[in-house]
């Protein structure tokens, strides 16, 4: 089940990522103090938690370990409850998604007492990285104007896969809460193997955008089927997409088109999305 993995690509710009050596300024969860064959690497350090790349059970099985350390300024009982609640909620959502066929990392282990969640390591990079790389190359090739649907299957195909993945997530009753192109991984397809989740390579290109979309970071996710919440989820993604990839903003409608095909009431969500956009615009005019 193991392959050689590329080096982890940080989700946040390099300057925000802690160097390995620095990681030990922070208390490690107890489990990371026990012996392992290779030392854990700190991948990201957020306000609420830290994500390490390490191994699960055997040296050959890489995993992502999320640690939500206790906050010294919070009352210890409240702190314990909050940590426990958040870790368990994230773990349950991962399990539910996987069972229902939404591409997410498999849950490996939970230790709610120490605030640790261990999950499958997803190879590849956050979608943001290859998309920006693709747009940069495109510009270097002399294509100065923004990307459009006529741009070719490669980018359009990726957008479609994003729409399908998000549609599937919403279909099974999960709202992500923080959809961005950093919270989706593009996992390379196993060579010579049909992708498991029903996607297929629709681009010829140079392969930069090939791969399966895997949604990660369910720290802010919740279970629910309110169309309003789903619409806000899409709006957040739309805004994030526009600001992270302004040159491909016009392609977002491909995401929405693919989303529409995933479940029956998607149309209602897309209608709501228009209201949410309107409110957003009003707010920014006032602000």
């Amino acid at each position: 089940m193991t392959t050689l993995l590329p080096l982890p690509v940080p989700a946040t710009p390099a300057d925000e990522v802690e160097a390995g050596a620095q990681s030990h300024q922070f208390p490690l969860p107890q489990t990371l103090n026990y012996p392992t064959t290779t030392p854990p690497t700190l991948i990201t350090q957020g306000a609420e938690g830290r994500l390490y790349k390490t191994t699960y059970l055997l040296p050959s099985i890489p995993c992502a370990l999320k640690h939500r350390p206790s906050k010294p300024y919070r009352h210890p009982i409240l702190d314990q409850r909050l940590t426990r609640h958040r870790i368990l909620s994230e773990a349950r959502i991962l399990q539910k998604c996987r069972r229902e066929g939404v591409p997410v990392p498999a849950l490996y282990a939970v230790d709610e007492g120490t605030g640790v969640l261990i999950m499958e390591w997803i190879a590849g990079a956050p979608v943001r990285v290859p998309v920006n790389e693709y747009l940069r190359k495109r510009k270097a090739d002399g294509l100065r104007e923004a990307a459009t649907k006529e741009d070719g299957e490669e980018l359009v195909g990726l957008m479609r896969r994003i729409g399908r993945a998000v549609g599937r997530l919403h279909k099974v009753g999960i709202v992500h809460g923080d959809l961005t192109t950093s919270n989706m991984m593009l996992r390379p397809w196993d060579k010579g193997k049909a992708p498991v989740n029903g996607h297929k390579a629709d681009g010829e290109g140079n392969g930069l955008l090939d791969g399966e979309i895997v949604i990660i970071d369910f720290g802010l996710a919740s279970q629910g089927t309110q169309d309003e919440d789903r619409a806000v989820d899409l709006y957040v993604l739309e805004r994030a997409f526009g600001s992270t990839h302004p040159r491909a903003e016009g392609l977002f409608e491909v995401v929405l088109d693919a989303y529409r095909g995933e479940f029956k009431t998607a149309n209602i969500v897309l209608k709501k999305l228009e209201d949410v956009r309107m409110r957003g615009r009003k707010r920014s005019m006032l602000g």
Binding site: M1, Q30, P35, T54, I61, Q95, R99, V102, A194, V196
Partner: protein, 196 residues
């Protein structure tokens, strides 16, 4: 054949030993030793038809160790805890019945966790454990490998035990190997949430 396995992220005072016996003829004797709480038979004795792979069994071992370290054991010892960790619900009696050895078990996986910091087991060694098992388990000792385990896995039983019939994530997969791999992932995930 008793294999010693070093798991990642567990204290070095713990060592894990696993043996796999096929065509066991004295399962009812072994089962009766557990019921009698015979301390020299303190093993996780598992009906191998409920195990998918090394990964699957080791996930149960790892979970039991973290539960013990956290002081949250719900059963008498780490070995009974391992049997229960294979379950995805909280019914302990049912877990013993489903995943533990029964008088009619044919293929049996044995796990022994030794703890040098533990008064009870500190005089036990891998060698003494192996000798004891070879003396008392009447069966054919085979390698604890994915290949051997796969020969005895009862998939339809696992599907039922872990309520995977109707899981959309499985129905979409046509390739049999990929489907089994995915079932394994779903089962390990369900085990992780057991008791929480």
């Amino acid at each position: 054949m008793l294999e010693t396995i070093h798991l990642e992220h567990i204290p070095h005072t713990l060592s894990i030993h696993v043996a796999f016996y096929r065509n066991v003829t004295n399962a009812s004797f072994l089962h009766s030793q557990l019921l009698a709480r015979n301390a020299s038979f303190e093993y996780a004795l598992i009906d191998a038809s409920t195990v998918i792979s090394r990964f699957h069994l080791l996930a149960a071992v790892y979970k039991s160790i973290t539960v013990e370290l956290g002081g949250n054991m719900k059963t008498p010892n780490i070995h009974s805890e391992i049997v229960c960790a294979l379950s995805s619900n909280n019914n302990i009696a049912e877990a013993y019945r489903r995943y533990g050895i029964s008088p009619i078990s044919k293929d049996v996986l044995v796990v022994k966790v030794l703890n040098t910091a533990h008064a009870n087991t500190s005089d036990l060694t891998k060698e003494s454990t192996e000798t004891h098992l070879n003396e008392h388990v009447k069966g054919e000792s085979v390698e604890f490998s994915d290949e051997e385990i796969a020969k005895t896995t009862d998939w339809s039983k696992l599907r039922k035990y872990h309520k995977l019939n109707g899981a959309a994530g499985l129905d979409d997969i046509t390739d049999m190997d990929a489907k089994r791999k995915e079932m394994e992932m779903m089962i390990v995930s369900a085990m992780a949430l057991r008791g929480l």
